[in-house]
């Protein structure tokens, strides 16, 4: 993630320790993937209660852009910045593979470099990516254009057989109602250069940098 951000920003991001209680002035907060606290209890649950998260919530509420990828997405739901929860994959297995994503809702900050409906190839690598929310919440997310990305095939079709983890309505990523927080399970940072086999994820970071500068 640090590499991907550095490539798009031309400068390295600052790393923040989880016990920090103040954040510097900043334009973007990224909660990367990983297995915070071993994902014991629930994925992202303990990290969501670490001291720095109070500040992250405050900044997000002030309108600062926040991107959570994989474990970062799980933390954002656990911290209440995004609705719903990420449950164990339908297969109950960890899954690491490339998937196709359809860019769903238009969002100036997070998908400015993609066209709506565009299909991109990005890897997933998670055990708990099965997005759950009650129907009312799902309807609201869809109605308000808060679904950012959905799992699909190369042609953009969605379906249960294509959905890698059982996510409700094939959701791979969502925005908060204000549009300044994105949580997504796939890892765009692992597809930012051709050497990695694909650079479809680069657009997300380049778009972020353009939108925020």
């Amino acid at each position: 993630m640090v590499d991907a951000l550095t490539q798009s920003m031309g400068a390295a991001p600052q790393l923040i320790w989880h016990r920090e209680t103040v954040l510097p002035d900043l334009d973007l907060i990224v909660l990367p993937g990983g297995f915070s606290y071993g994902d014991y209890l629930r994925s992202g649950a303990m990290a969501a209660r670490s001291p720095v998260m109070k500040e992250v919530v405050r900044k997000a509420n002030d309108g600062v852009a926040v991107l959570g990828v994989c474990n970062g997405f799980q933390m954002l739901t656990e911290a209440g910045l995004l609705p719903g929860a990420l449950m164990r994959n339908r297969s109950l297995k960890f899954i690491c593979r490339d998937v196709f994503l359809k860019v769903d809702g238009a969002n100036q900050t997070f998908s400015g470099n993609y066209s709506s409906g565009q299909v991109i190839r990005i890897p997933v690598a998670h055990h708990d990516g099965n997005y759950f929310a009650d129907n009312e919440t799902l309807n609201r997310l869809e109605g308000e254009g808060q679904v950012g990305y959905r799992y699909c095939d190369a042609e953009g079709n969605t379906g249960d057989a294509i959905n890698p983890n059982g996510s409700a309505r094939h959701i791979a990523g969502i925005y908060n109602d204000r549009g300044n927080v994105l949580g997504m399970m796939p890892h765009p940072e692992d597809h930012v250069e051709d050497l990695q086999g694909c650079s479809d994820g680069r657009g997300l970071f380049d778009g972020l940098v353009e939108a925020l500068s």
Partner: protein, 80 residues
């Protein structure tokens, strides 16, 4: 005192682990098994002897950490 917290998925939330167990039991030839649900049980040693205090403290723990109330319910038992 000991507190035993049960954390279970809310009704209506699909339980993939429970489903998988159901399926596996069936595969092993166990008949007559209906729905299976899996939850967590968390046992805590508390150094208080006051039941009311314990109950309110543990409820607080559940709300703040032990359960994700978007998808889970919890119940608390106290034992000496």
């Amino acid at each position: 005192m000991k507190a035993i917290v049960h954390v279970t998925l809310k009704n209506g939330v699909l339980d993939p682990q429970g489903k998988a167990i159901e399926h596996a039991l069936d595969g092993l030839g166990f008949d007559g098994v209906g729905e299976v649900r899996q939850g967590k049980v968390i046992e805590l040693e508390l150094d208080t002897a006051d039941k009311d205090a314990a109950l309110s403290q543990v409820s607080d723990m559940c709300e703040k950490l032990l359960a994700n109330t978007v998808i889970e319910d919890y119940s608390i038992d106290l034992a000496d």
